[in-house]
Structure formats: structure tokens, C-alpha cells
Symmetry: C2
Subunit: 230 residues, 2 copies
């Protein structure tokens, strides 16, 4: 068994540089300089530059997906196989938002890397994102169980909009802060999650009868379920 000190030094250096400067202008030579390893080490350990990027992104997004499914499973167990819709959405949007936002995440290389990956869309990352459909289908299935009456199309739109708000908030947090002149607090992650969840629930339950509508727990009271549970 080899000491993979070189390997992980490359991973760490690459993640840091990509997080700081984006994929566009970081070369292999920048990475090996930061990692204090030889240029040929990247191709030796990863095969190619793209495979290095892919490994970085897969690692981080697997972690997010795992968090999501844990939280979903927990919610479904608590609901006897049928989780409330706001809990499902909370499981969907909470992990990426918590992973990328918040004051403690400011210095996190992983967070800034994922934000970069969300903004710039390089080929190896795009390829991986396209395989994410299966993962999302699990949430559609849970939503179907939670809202048995709704058309499937409505569920897809609801999930789509939930992800829209999530990713756009991550991508454009800087611009929203600037536009709102600081009036939108991008550091209060729990509040943001609740906001996204509650709008998503509204999108999904609009047009429902008042009786059904009232049975949906508001997102705010769901705040118990945080990172500690995962």
C-alpha cells in the first residue's frame, strides 16, 4: 500500500485553487506548485485533469446526496412511510444550502468549491450532474406518497422550483447581497432554508382545497431537524 500523501495533496491543492480562482484559469502547473509535487503526478494518480476535477466533484456531491437521503429517510420513518411535504423539501434543499452558505462556511474550501462548480459548468462536472436524475426521482417518489392527489407534472414543477431557488441562492448570493444592500441576510441559513421550503410548499399545494392545504405543516415549525440528526 502506497502512501497517498501525494494524491491527497493534489486533491487539496486543486480544490483550494479551483475554489479561489475558478476552473477557467487554474492549470495543472498551478496545482502541482501549490501541492509541492511533480507535474507528472497528476496524470499518474488521476489519469487526466478532467478525472481529477470529476473526483473532486463526485466526492462533494456524494456527501450532499447522502445527507439528503438520510434526512428523507428519517422524515419518512417519523411519518410512518409518508413524510410531510415540507419535510421532504427540507431534506432536498437543506443539505446543499447548509453546505454552501452561512458564516462558518465562508472559509470552507469545500463550500467555495461547490459554489464554483455551481457557477462555472465545465464538461466533467456537467457529465456527473446529468447522472443526478436517479437521485432526484427518489424525492419525486416521496412527494407522490406525501401528496397522493397531485398530478405528477405538478410534483416535477415543485421539485424543479425548489432546486431553482436553492441553486440560484448559492450561485448569486453575492449579487443578492449587493442588490439588497445587505438587507437580505445570507448568513442565516436556517431562515433561508425555511423560506425556500415554504415557497416550494406553496407552489406544490396551490389550488388545493383549503382543507387539504391546512393539513400541511408550515416549514418554520420543522426547524428541529438540523445537522445534528444526520
Amino acid at each position: 500500500m502506497s502512501s497517498d500523501r501525494t494524491r491527497s495533496a493534489i486533491l487539496a491543492a486543486a480544490e483550494k485553487l479551483y475554489a479561489d480562482r475558478g476552473f477557467g484559469d487554474v492549470t495543472l502547473r498551478d496545482i502541482v506548485a501549490e501541492a509541492n509535487v511533480n507535474l507528472a503526478a497528476v496524470n499518474y494518480h488521476f489519469g487526466s485533469k478532467d478525472e481529477l476535477i470529476a473526483e473532486l466533484f463526485v466526492t462533494r456531491s456524494l456527501a450532499t446526496n447522502r445527507e439528503r437521503l438520510n434526512e428523507l429517510k428519517l422524515a419518512e420513518e417519523q411519518g410512518g412511510g409518508r413524510a410531510p411535504i415540507d419535510a421532504i423539501l427540507h431534506a432536498l434543499v437543506g443539505p446543499p444550502l447548509r453546505g454552501c452558505l452561512g458564516p462558518d462556511r465562508e472559509g470552507s474550501t469545500a463550500a467555495r468549491f461547490m459554489i464554483r462548480a455551481s457557477i462555472e459548468s465545465v464538461p466533467p462536472i456537467r457529465r456527473i450532474k446529468n447522472r443526478e436524475v436517479d437521485h432526484l426521482r427518489k424525492f419525486i417518489a416521496a412527494m407522490r406518497r406525501s401528496l397522493p392527489g397531485r398530478d405528477d407534472a405538478e410534483l416535477y414543477w415543485g421539485l424543479h422550483f425548489a432546486l431553482a431557488m436553492t441553486h440560484h441562492t448559492i450561485r448569486e448570493k453575492e449579487r443578492l447581497t449587493k442588490l439588497s444592500e445587505g438587507q437580505c441576510d445570507l448568513n442565516d441559513v436556517d431562515a433561508i432554508v425555511d423560506r425556500v421550503v415554504s415557497v416550494s410548499v406553496m407552489a406544490l399545494t396551490a389550488g388545493q382545497t383549503p382543507a387539504k392545504k391546512a393539513s400541511v405543516r408550515p416549514a418554520a415549525v420543522h426547524g428541529r431537524l438540523t445537522r445534528q440528526d444526520l
Copy 2:
């Protein structure tokens, strides 16, 4: 006055190639080959590759912004200086959605170029997008007039989410079609616009008193205002 046949041939060729293959792997040599002009013509007419990209993007996004402001102005005039909130949001999200979606837009180079510009984020385009804040402030001002009671932060979040749904729908239309197995109709642009507007209105008016809430016209009845009015 010079015949700018070369200039516009470059613009057309560049837009087409960027639309088809993305910014990542289109070189100046590809562009001049497509345009049947000399390599040096790009630098002669535009100064640099980045300035060419910038000019392409500025042209298209100025058109969108003009449409937006026209529609906003019309709505405010009809409302005596105070447009209904759904009309404001319609003016915000309608133009980009109509510009990029719909069956007739499938073959449009301009549409596909703007989708690319939305997916890949190259430096010259990012620089331009960052100047968009002033444009958005006009919509915040209109929203403030429309919903005088609301906190500014709420208005910013509402606008932010409206743009989130708009851009994410444009960016991920392919994936949503795939995920929903065709059950989400990405060709019915008017329905999508109404959907985005109505969710945005809900986000903005949540927590209002029922009396105030009822005074908001549902987005669907606003469908009269389409491209013909602009």
C-alpha cells in the same frame, strides 16, 4: 463608411458556434472559418475575443431588458403609476422566458446563445451581468409602489426567487424534460410564465392578511399581455 459585411459575418458565425458548442471549445479559428473571413479580422473589428463575446451578449440582453421595461411601463401606466404585482413580475420574467423557450425558439440561434450564456459563465459575460443590478432596481422600485406595506427584504427575496425560477427553467429545460419524462411541457411558454409569476406572487404575498391577499389578481387572468403589446 465601411461595408461591415465582415463584422456582421463574424458576429453571426460566433453566435451560431457558441450556441451550438458552448464557449469552452470554440476558437477564433473556428469562427473565422465559419464566417469565411481572415483570422486577423476579429482583432481588427472587435479588439479581442472577449470583446466579441461581450458585444454578442450585450446586444441580446439589451433587447431583453428593453422588452422588460416596455412591459413594466405599460403596466404602470394602466395602473395609474402603480402596477399590480403580478404584472410587474410578468414584465420581469416574461421576456427572458419567451426569448429562450418555446417550439419556435428551438432553431433560434439567439435563443440558444442566451441559454449557453446562462449555463456557462465566462468572464466577459459575468462582467456584464454584474452591471445588471441597476436594471433590477427599477423592478424593486415598482414592487415597492405595488406593495407599499412589505419590507424591502421581502421584495428582494421575491425578485430573487422569480429570477431563480426563470433562469433555472432556461438552464435546465433539457433536464426537467428528461426527469419528468415529458410530463412538464416546456413548449407552452405562456403557461410557464404564468406558473413562475403565480409562485412569485405567492412568495411575495405570503403572510399578508387575507383581505390584502385577495386583492392580488391571479397571474392567469393576466395572459392578455403578450409580445404583441411590445
